[in-house]
């Protein structure tokens, strides 16, 4: 399995963010996208996730499920955490599990994996910033998707949370998954680096 | 030529159509002049556009 995008150009708000960019990542490989603020890391992730249409070029997953498009085989973890404050932690998670569908895991186990099981009944409005982020991470676990697209995944996590998350990424990679993460901090595992900006 | 008892209606409608069409024309011509002037102004200030690009890479 191999994710590859060729000659990608992205235009936002009438301005060109990047052009002629190639990305690729093989199964079991982690790719860290780095670069200064405004370089286009988030934009690139959104192009891969199919949320932005590139002005040129295209991305595809070779060797994945042929019936499904790349976005359908990917998890996207963005800045906005897709949680409804009115619903409880468990309700939030099990909604996404049911809605995303496919190969699902037990909700309670996923919550335990991010150390949120004690808060399962709390409304999501009551969560602290780091707890929200943990809940988003639990979503990655609740449904198996080969490609993880992560936008600054460790922000707001404490040291224990970061260690825990590195463990989860390792497991995912060991299972043949792909991780593409935009980050300003070291990812904490071996990753190829794609540096944006600076050069152009 | 007599227009009958409803002359005012007929004349008004013809006049209105003329007025609106003239307004459209004036607006479009004035707009053209304005854009041309702004373009000249900008190009005078040194910004030039790259030309000779084909239709394919235009979008």
């Amino acid at each position: 399995m191999r994710l590859s995008g060729r000659n990608l150009t992205c235009v936002r708000g009438g301005r060109q963010v990047f052009s002629g960019l190639d990305v690729s990542a093989a199964a079991g490989e982690a790719l860290a996208i780095t670069g200064p603020n405004g370089a286009g890391k988030t934009s690139l992730l959104r192009v891969i996730a199919g949320l932005l249409v590139p002005a040129e070029g295209s991305v595809a997953l070779e060797g994945g499920d042929n019936e499904l498009s790349l976005p359908e085989q990917a998890h996207y973890l963005g800045h906005r955490d897709a949680l409804k404050p009115a619903l409880s932690v468990r309700e939030n998670l099990s909604f996404w599990r049911d809605f995303l569908g496919g190969d699902t895991q037990d909700t309670q186990q996923c919550l335990a994996a991010v150390a949120l099981d004690h808060a399962a009944h709390l409304p999501a409005a009551y969560l602290s910033a780091g707890q929200r982020r943990r809940l988003s991470i639990a979503r990655l676990l609740s449904v198996r998707r080969p490609v993880w697209l992560l936008d600054e995944p460790t922000s707001a996590l404490d040291a224990a949370g970061q260690a825990l998350f590195v463990g989860l990424m390792r497991d995912h990679l060991a299972g043949g998954g792909i991780v593409i993460a935009a980050t300003h901090l070291p990812l904490g595992l071996d990753a190829r680096e794609l540096r944006m900006g600076g050069t152009g | 030529m007599s227009l009958g008892p409803y002359a005012s209606f007929i004349v008004t409608s013809y006049a209105l159509v003329t007025a609106v069409v003239l307004l459209l024309i004036v607006w479009i011509v004035a707009d053209y002049r304005r854009q041309q002037a702004r373009l000249r102004e900008i190009e005078a200030s040194g910004v030039t556009r790259r030309s000779g690009r084909s239709a394919a890479d235009m979008r």
Partner: protein
């Protein structure tokens, strides 16, 4: 399928829990109805003649009021991104969201109709006719309104602009809804013709709405 069921369940749950949405709609409906007797004066015959029109107007405006944020809330918290990426076709997801909205905000209006009918001096048949036309017609309001809600997300605009864009689309629904109820109450015309046109409009919008909304979401997200 279960994905859609999950989406519907979630949206209804949120609507009921945070309240706002559904209840404000019913309250607005009530306000419109209560206001009319003051506008028209204490002429009971006239009031009952205007009854269906008033109820329909109230329903239209109430759905406009609540529909506005159908997609905006999901956009702001990032849920919409995940919905667009999911394996569920976006058209179906849009339809599910509209259905959930109708169940949470449209259905209560219909349930409230008999009570309001009393206020407007409508008799049993008239109330029944209005409730029936509302049942057949409000889905059309929701599903055309959904187009506006989707445009709201892609334009980063809300409120009045949308109302302006969407209202013209819902005028036919209003015309036939009122015509059918009038026919049932007094009219020389038959109830069947306008009612079947109303149903046709609803079916039509059930198809057009999700497609137009999905198209505008697909092309407009960024």
């Amino acid at each position: 399928m279960s994905a859609l069921a999950a989406l519907i369940r979630r949206d209804i749950r949120i609507a009921l829990r945070v309240g706002g949405g559904a209840l404000i709609g019913v309250l607005f409906f009530l306000t419109v109805t209560v206001l009319m007797p003051f506008a028209v004066g204490p002429d009971l015959a006239l009031l009952s003649r205007l009854g269906p029109a008033i109820l329909w107007l109230g329903a239209l405006l109430a759905s406009l009021l609540t529909l506005d944020r159908l997609f905006t809330a999901d956009h702001e918290d990032g849920s919409l991104d995940l919905i667009v990426m999911s394996r569920t076709p976006l058209e179906l997801a849009c339809a599910a969201k509209a259905l959930a909205h109708w169940l949470a905000a449209g259905l209560p209006l219909i349930v409230a109709t008999p009570v309001l009918g009393l206020l407007l001096n409508l008799d049993g048949t008239a109330t029944l006719a209005v409730a029936l036309t509302l049942l057949a017609g409000t889905p059309a309001l929701t599903f055309t309104g959904m187009i506006g809600a989707a445009l709201a997300v892609t334009l980063h605009r809300g409120g009045l602009l949308l109302a302006v864009l969407v209202l013209p689309l819902s005028i036919p629904v209003l015309i036939f809804g009122v015509a059918a109820s009038q026919a049932a109450i007094s009219g020389p015309m038959s109830f069947g013709t306008p009612f079947s046109i109303l149903c046709a409009l609803s079916l039509f919008s059930l198809v057009i709405g999700p497609f137009a909304a999905a198209a505008s979401l697909r092309h407009g997200l960024d």
